[in-house]
C-alpha cells in the first residue's frame, strides 16, 4: 500500500511539473536566430528584438551587450537589467528554448543600415562563456513633410497671444524656432523679448508629438480687415538644417 501511495504521489508531482529546476544537459550552444531586425527610421529611436536559441544544455544568467556601436548610435537596455539585456521570460535560455532580447537604439539621421556587434555571456555546465554575434539593423530614410501646422483664422481685437500648433512627422526635429513677418499695422513680440519663438514644451519636436509656438500681436494700430502673416520655421535634423514656411490669417474686427 505504501509503495502504491508513494508511486501515486510521485506521478502526480511529475504531472504537475514539479521536477527540480536543475541545469539541463551538457554545455549549451547558443545561436542567434535573427539575421536582421525590424527597420528603424534614420533619426529615430526604437526597441528592436533579437531571437536566441540554446541547444545541448541550458544557458543560465544570459546577458547581451552591444559592443562598439557606430558613432552617433545610442544603445539602451531594459530598465529591469540596466547594463545589459536578458531574455524576455527570464535569464535562463533552457535547452531547446527560443526567447528574445530587446534593445533600445537611437539612430542618427545620417545612419545607414549596419551590423550591430553583440556579445552574449552566460554560464553553462558550470563554466562562464562569452560569444560574439552580428545582427543587421536596417535603417530607412524618412520621407514626407517633416511637420504639419494647425490651420485656422485668428481674430485679434486689440492685442493678444497667438498660438500656432505643430505636429512632428519626421523622427526628431531639434532647435525649433519660428519667426513671423507681420504686415504694416501689426506688431509682433516674442516671449522673453527674443527675435524668434520656440515651442511651449521644449525646442524638440518628436514624431507624433504636438506642441505650439506662441507670439504676441498688437493690432491696435491696424485698420479692421484680414491680414496674412508669413511664418518661417527653422530646425535641425542632427547636422542638417530644415525649414518650414506657412502663414497665419488674422482678422481684426
Amino acid at each position: 500500500m505504501r509503495v502504491l501511495t508513494t508511486s501515486v504521489v510521485l506521478t502526480l508531482l511529475l504531472t504537475m511539473g514539479a521536477q527540480p529546476a536543475l541545469a539541463q544537459g551538457g554545455p549549451a550552444n547558443v545561436k542567434s536566430l535573427t539575421v536582421q531586425t525590424g527597420t528603424v527610421l534614420a533619426g529615430d529611436s526604437a526597441w528592436i528584438e533579437i531571437v536566441w536559441e540554446s541547444s545541448g544544455g541550458d544557458a543560465e544568467d544570459f546577458q547581451v551587450t552591444v559592443k562598439n556601436p557606430d558613432p552617433g548610435w545610442e544603445v539602451r537596455y531594459p530598465s529591469s537589467t540596466g547594463s545589459f539585456a536578458s531574455t524576455w521570460a527570464d535569464s535562463t535560455l533552457s535547452d531547446g528554448e527560443i526567447d528574445f532580447t530587446a534593445l533600445h537604439v537611437t539612430v542618427p539621421y545620417q545612419a545607414k543600415s549596419l551590423n550591430l556587434h553583440l556579445e552574449a555571456s552566460y554560464s553553462t555546465g558550470g563554466k562562464s562563456h562569452t560569444q560574439s554575434y552580428s545582427v543587421k539593423v536596417p535603417v530607412a530614410a524618412y520621407s514626407g513633410d517633416d511637420l504639419t501646422a494647425g490651420g485656422g483664422d485668428v481674430a485679434i481685437d486689440g492685442s493678444g497671444w497667438v498660438e500656432v500648433a505643430f505636429t512632428g512627422n519626421a523622427p526628431r526635429l531639434d532647435g525649433f524656432q519660428m519667426a513671423a513677418s507681420p504686415p504694416a499695422g501689426l506688431t509682433v513680440t516674442y516671449p522673453g523679448d527674443g527675435s524668434t519663438t520656440s515651442l511651449a514644451h521644449d525646442a524638440r519636436l518628436e514624431d507624433g508629438e504636438s506642441d505650439y509656438a506662441a507670439f504676441f500681436i498688437d493690432a491696435t494700430a491696424a485698420a479692421p480687415g484680414t491680414y496674412t502673416i508669413p511664418l518661417h520655421v527653422t530646425y535641425t535634423k542632427d547636422s542638417t538644417a530644415g525649414t518650414w514656411d506657412g502663414s497665419l490669417t488674422i482678422t481684426v474686427p
Binding site: 500500500m1 505504501r2 501511495t5 508513494t6 501515486v8 504521489v9 502526480l12 508531482l13 504531472t15 504537475m16 511539473g17 521536477q19 529546476a21 536566430l33 535573427t34 531586425t37 525590424g38 527597420t39 528603424v40 526604437a46 526597441w47 528592436i48 528584438e49 533579437i50 531571437v51 536559441e53 531594459p78 530598465s79 524576455w88 521570460a89 527570464d90 535562463t92 533552457s94 535547452d95 531547446g96 528554448e97 527560443i98 526567447d99 528574445f100 530587446a102 533600445h104
Partner: protein
C-alpha cells in the same frame, strides 16, 4: 502513512487548481510570436508586452494560462519542440 495521504490530497488539490491551457494553441502562438517580434520595432518597452497580450487575448488565452505554459516550457522538452516547429513554420528557418 498519514503524511503521504496529506501530500496526495494536497497534490490533487494543486493539480485541480493549476490553470489549464491548450498546449498546441499556446505553442503555436509562442512560435509565431518569437518569429514576428524580431521583425517589429516598438516605441516603448510596454508596447512589446502589449503586442503579446493582444495576441493572447485575441486567442482567448488568459495571462495565467500563458504564465503556466511558460513555466512548463522550461521543464518540458516536447513543448519547446512544438514552439520551435511553429517558429520554423512561420519563419521558415
Amino acid at each position: 502513512m498519514r503524511k503521504l495521504w496529506f501530500i496526495l490530497i494536497a497534490a490533487l488539490f494543486l493539480t485541480a487548481c493549476a490553470p489549464r491551457y491548450n498546449a498546441a494553441l499556446l505553442s503555436s502562438i509562442e512560435g509565431r510570436w518569437m518569429c514576428d517580434v524580431q521583425r517589429y520595432t516598438f516605441e516603448t518597452q510596454q508596447d512589446i508586452q502589449a503586442e503579446l497580450d493582444g495576441r493572447l487575448s485575441g486567442n482567448g488565452v488568459s495571462a495565467e494560462q500563458y504564465r503556466a505554459f511558460k513555466d512548463d516550457l522550461t521543464k518540458q522538452q516536447h513543448l519547446r519542440d512544438e514552439v520551435k516547429a511553429a517558429y520554423i513554420q512561420q519563419c521558415g528557418t
